[in-house]
């Protein structure tokens, strides 16, 4: 009986050594990196406070404040109905930051007039969201 017990212990030891060898190669660092944060993606929200930074004058600061007010208290309550991506409010603030308060605001107003489904042929469409693409910055420009 004692002999069997010893052999069993020996087998157990051999088994553990084999397992150690297998576990060393079971998962590469790349696999772990790939899985990192996959569950966080759905919870990602745009931080509109970033638009408060980098204003070049008081008008832009005021516009950014109004934008943040609108996004936090008004837009957040009524859902996303804009046909474009970025939405008209985001387009407005980005346009003001890019072109200055007068021209940027004018482009923003023009965007409001275009915010309908009458001319989808003029824009590319995002397949997942079905929104029309109309960015302030062209693909070859830097934000």
């Amino acid at each position: 009986m004692e002999k069997i017990h010893r052999y069993f212990n020996l087998l157990l030891l051999a088994f553990f050594i084999l397992i150690i060898n297998l576990t060393v190669f079971s998962q590469s660092k790349k696999d772990i990196e790939m899985l990192n944060g996959i569950f966080d993606q759905q919870n990602q929200k745009t931080d509109y406070k970033t638009y408060m930074r980098g204003n070049s004058n008081e008008f832009q600061l005021l516009a950014s404040g109004l934008f943040l007010f609108y996004k936090s208290l008004i837009s957040s309550q009524d859902g996303n109905h804009c046909v474009f991506n970025p939405s008209c409010s985001v387009y407005m603030i980005q346009s003001i930051k890019k072109n200055g308060i007068l021209i940027g605001f004018s482009y923003g107003i023009d965007r409001l007039m275009r915010c309908n489904r009458l001319t989808p042929e003029n824009y590319e469409r995002f397949e997942t969201t079905n929104l029309l693409s109309d960015p302030v910055w062209e693909s070859n420009e830097k934000e």
């Binding site: 010893r6 020996l10 030891l13 051999a14 050594i17 084999l18 060898n21 021209i103 605001f105 004018s106 482009y107 923003g108 107003i109 023009d110 965007r111 409001l112 007039m113 275009r114 309908n116 009458l118 001319t119 003029n122």
Partner: protein, 279 residues
């Protein structure tokens, strides 16, 4: 005695992993065989890794170098492919063998280094004259340099290649593009709101703009007509109408620019597909 047996057994078990490595599967012959298999089965990222080892083991193997660069190209790593050219043939880029020169050109085009494509072909004497002309004309079209491309197409007659003939057609067509003047579009919208957009063939946007401006202006008129200068209603709608009016002027200017860009992009895309579809 038993203890010794156990120690020996543990020793054997510890070293058994090394026994698996007894066969060298990473020598030059095996690597080439495996890399070729990966290349043929279109697993280009993996193939590039194997060809890297092959080139490391056999630095004079030009065929492996070409396959390595092709693997990078097929896996869309054009930048790395160009870096490899720089690494392998830094001082002899202009004297590359035709298949290497062609591969270099393909990577330059895919990386959109059109300026370098043109200048490289000017210096290169290894490639055929017709081939060089085709790619030079293509690079001019990809730079959206329509006038220069048109003049180049006039100077250099069509060769036997179909690609060359098609590029000539595109070059002649590019000269016939009728652009819309952004300033005119803005001016039209200043005179009658929305007409600037209609000028750029955005009929529906033009009508919507006209409606926005006219409805708000009408409401402002009503307010002022009813309560005079002190009408809040009138001033609010006057503000809206003015904003929409100015917005439409700038929008028309932008619409004309967008219209012109669309025309340019159509020609560019045709030239692009003609150039790269057979790569």
């Amino acid at each position: 005695m038993k203890k010794n047996k156990i120690i020996i057994l543990i020793g054997v078990l510890l070293f058994h992993t090394q026994l698996f490595n007894a066969q060298n599967l990473k020598d030059t012959e095996h690597t080439k065989k495996f890399a070729d298999y990966l290349f043929k089965s279109r697993q280009y990222v993996l193939a590039s890794e194997e060809y890297e080892r092959l080139v490391f083991n056999d630095s004079l193997n030009n065929q492996a170098k070409l396959k390595l660069i092709q693997s990078y190209r097929f896996s869309n790593n054009f930048k790395v492919a160009l870096q490899k050219f720089d690494y392998f043939f830094k001082d002899s880029l202009n004297r590359l063998q035709p298949d290497f020169a062609e591969e270099f050109l393909k990577n330059l085009i895919l990386e959109k280094e059109n300026e370098q494509v043109y200048s490289y072909l000017e210096k290169n004497s290894v490639l055929e004259e017709g081939f060089r002309q085709t790619y030079q004309l293509g690079s001019l079209l990809l730079k959206k340099n329509w006038d220069t491309a048109f003049n180049y197409a006039l100077k250099h007659p069509v060769t036997e290649s179909k690609k060359n003939a098609d590029l000539h057609v595109i070059a002649f067509r590019s000269k016939q593009i009728k652009y819309k003047k952004p300033f005119n579009a803005a001016l039209f919208s200043v005179i009658i709101p929305g007409t600037g957009k209609m000028y750029t063939k955005n009929w529906k946007d033009g009508l919507v703009s006209l409606m926005f401006v006219s409805v708000n202006a009408w409401q402002a008129y009503r307010g002022f007509n009813k309560s005079g200068k002190n009408s809040v209603y009138g001033w609010v709608f006057a503000g809206f109408a003015t904003s929409f009016y100015i917005g439409n002027v700038f929008g028309s200017y932008k619409s004309a620019k967008k219209y012109n860009k669309k025309l340019d992009d159509e020609i560019y895309n045709e030239a692009w597909h003609l150039m790269v579809d057979d790569f």
